[in-house]
């Protein structure tokens, strides 16, 4: 063991969720003082793997060996005992406590048995921060810190627990470039101290800059582990993408018209979108691709009036318009289907019928928009339910009792009944099964053929490649590349998403 310097080794790890094999016979190891990058597309199994290491999930098969001994990480507290720390994208910090309190939470130095030793806790905290060359006052509250600073505190916290392995999940997704440089120098420090790091990132250049080895996961399987200095980004990208499954996409037949329905000029959103320009044609499916932190979601939300901090110009049917709130967008004929069905889509307590009609209910009325005409509402519902093939027990059934796919159809239907001309779809097939996915794709294609323009984003690249007429790739809030149907493939999208501009269209 010792000659290989292996801290942790995973053998034949398997994890099964109902209906999905998330990990299949994954072998993986990390050496002392090594930075090991873990890459793969969404759904490749990266999160599952780190959750197993962090004790949040239990593997259904295989073995974990830590420092030569078989380990059983049966709870998150066990991970701590094995000196493993996971820094998730959502931090585990208490906003209303100080930096020092957060670092030592649950392990505060005490005076006697009851009282916190404030002097010691603050001194110890500043010592750890100094070691990492982080200039943050340990008495500051977490809620006053920036995202980058919070992340540093998480690292300090892991160090204070003497962690020998720190797992970082997309640590740079929300950081500015300056902060990234700082983070890298800290990782360099940790490596010198003999701390091992598993580094998960969508940005390949970072993985190459930092790591000693790179492991590629795809569809729950380990594809390969490469020594970083012996490989290149093109090889890793093709390992990540593998073969493309094309079967379940319906092709759009008609050509898009040249008529511009919507144009966005010099569009900026504070800290997320910089100087965006694009046109949308009638009947076009325009895709947006980009990894977490690319700003796509902010952009698409703001086109519907969901954010109020945007500047720039929007033209709709050649008229300059101002979209400040969703009702402005609805009036113009812009529809929006959220990616966050639970957060801003479903009206949980209400029926399937009421969920579908909420946007247009004002038009289904008698006496100047006052009284709802129940029959008309039901007619609209029935027509849309038939068109989208929504399956439900009764129109009065509460929406939360529907399957994910049918919920999604109701939410889409809600927007479609409003006769919109432009439809913004965020992750239209997230969290629904393959059959329903194919149906949603078919609906989208049919809509575009009817002349409705669609703006969509999806973290599933095959969806973008096969559905869209044109795809714009954003990288850190800027337009990085643009592809059309003829010259677009997954590899090019992945490359552009992670900041490699070599395949650019123009």
């Amino acid at each position: 063991m010792d000659e290989n310097n292996i801290f942790i080794e995973l053998k034949n790890i398997k994890k099964i969720f109902p209906g999905v094999v998330a990990l299949e016979d994954v072998d993986f190891d990390v050496k002392y003082g090594e930075v090991h990058a873990l890459v793969g597309e969404n759904g490749a199994g990266k999160s599952t793997l780190i959750k197993i290491l962090g004790g949040a999930y239990q593997p259904d098969g295989g073995e974990i060996i830590i420092e030569g001994k078989t380990a059983n990480i049966s709870a998150t507290s066990m991970a701590q005992q094995y000196k493993i720390a996971v820094i998730y994208q959502e931090f585990n910090l208490v906003p209303d406590l100080s930096v020092a309190e957060n670092i030592f939470i649950g392990r505060e130095p005490k005076v006697g048995k009851t009282f916190v030793n404030w002097k010691k806790i603050n001194n110890d905290a500043s010592e750890i921060l100094k070691k990492l060359d982080i200039e943050i006052n340990p008495k500051k509250f977490i809620s006053d810190l920036s995202v980058a600073e919070k992340q540093m505190i998480e690292i300090a916290k892991s160090l204070s627990m003497d962690a020998k392995l720190i797992i970082m999940d997309e640590p740079t997704a929300t950081l500015t470039e300056k902060e990234v440089i700082k983070l890298f120098s800290i990782i360099e420090e940790l490596r010198k101290k003999g701390v091992s790091i598993i580094y998960i990132s969508h940005r390949l250049d970072e993985a190459f800059k930092l790591s000693d080895r790179i492991t590629v996961l795809r569809d729950g399987k380990k594809i390969e582990t490469k020594i970083t200095s012996e490989t290149n980004q093109n090889e890793i990208v093709s390992l990540m993408v593998g073969k493309v499954v094309k079967d379940y996409f319906s092709e759009k037949k008609q050509k898009t018209s040249d008529e511009v329905i919507m144009e966005v000029k010099n569009y900026n959103i504070a800290d997320s979108i910089y100087d965006m320009n694009f046109q949308l044609h009638r009947g076009e499916i325009l895709g947006f691709a980009g990894v977490l932190g690319s700003g796509i979601h902010h952009l698409l939300r703001s086109l519907y009036g969901g954010e109020q901090i945007a500047s720039g110009e929007i033209y709709f049917e050649n008229q300059k318009v101002s979209i400040k709130k969703p009702s402005d967008a609805i009036k113009l004929g812009i529809g929006y289907v959220t990616e966050d069905r639970k957060g801003e889509g479903l009206l949980y307590d209400m029926s399937v019928l009421q969920n579908l009609s909420i946007i247009i209910i004002k038009t289904l009325t008698a006496f100047k928009g006052l009284f709802i005409r129940q029959k008309k509402e039901l007619d609209v519902f029935n027509a849309m339910a038939k068109e989208l093939d929504i399956k439900y027990a009764s129109v009065n059934q509460r929406i939360i009792y529907l399957s994910g796919g049918n919920q999604q159809k109701v939410i889409m239907g809600r927007t479609l009944v409003s006769d919109c001309k432009v439809l913004i779809l965020l992750e239209p097939t997230r969290g629904i099964d393959v059959g329903a996915k194919a149906e949603i794709h078919k609906i989208m294609t049919a809509l575009a053929e009817k002349g409705i323009s669609i703006i969509m984003t999806s973290s599933e690249l095959p969806e973008l490649v096969n559905l869209t007429d044109r795809c714009i790739v954003l990288y850190k809030g800027k337009l990085a590349a643009e592809f059309n149907r003829e010259n677009m493939d997954e590899e090019k999208l992945v490359a552009a998403e992670i900041g490699k501009h070599i395949y650019s269209n123009n």
């Binding site: 957060g343 009206l347 949980y348 307590d349 009421q354 928009g369 709802i372």
Partner: protein, 321 residues
Amino acid sequence: MVKFLKLYEKIGIFILIVAASIFLAIVSPNFRNMDTILSIIMQGSYGAIIAFGMTFAITSGGFDLSVEAVMGLTSVIIAMLIPSLGFAGSIIIAVLASCFVGFLNGILITKVGISPLITTLSMQVILRGASLIITNGRQVVISQKSFMSIGASKAFGFLPMPIIYMAVLFAIFYIILNQTTFGRHVAASGSNEQAAKMSGLNISLIKTVVYILVAFSASIVGVIRTSQTLIGIPTMAPGFTLNVLTIAILGGTSLAGGRGNLIGTLFAGIFISMIYYGLNLLNVQIFYQMLAVGITLLFALFIDGLRMKYLETAKIKGIRV
């Protein structure tokens, strides 16, 4: 459990009423005559009317703790103005002033962003103070005896007026909640405010109107009670807010928002009145009556908590039960 809760949601309050009726019919021969029953319903109408408004507030995802102070404000405004304006004028001004209070509640909650709890609790104290200042801390006697006819007379010689007011307001509120776009919008904002916003609804406007409706209903009861006693009482009905909340929640309107049940509210109002009647009958001290209302509220909250937990809305919305 889910089945039980769904059943309770539909018929729970009726079962409670039937059980209480059987009990009262057995222990009290008086209960079997019409006058007693009408009197119980009348006593229940005050809480029920305000609870109609409260049902809207809870459905929209909030609640209003200032209702008893609105009653007091209405009472003193009428008593002070009736000598100069007569009763139509003084009632209109009192009700309008109350609606303005509801408007303020709504603005503070939606535009300033203070929680409904703090806003309406502060409003309660402010209005109490204001009412006491207006009357100099005294109760104001109303000399126009004819004013009494509004709340203390009987229609057709047997039907107490408050029951008629309750019936009319029930019909109006029921239609608003279930048949109009506004009612639909109220339920949507309480069900998932973010989703409602993204559906193009003006949440601030909707909620502000809701708080105006609550204050309006409280003011109506203020008018009725003032007319019955012919006294302007600045500290009218202390503790009544809790009764109103109990009625709305017991009737099946969930604190999680999104689902308003006005029929339930109506019957819960009558049920609470039956509890009071029963306790009076058994010669139980008034302190125990407070105890009973408190326990009923806890019971209603308990069932509501179970409902949120088991129907998983709690999990989705992140509400702590």
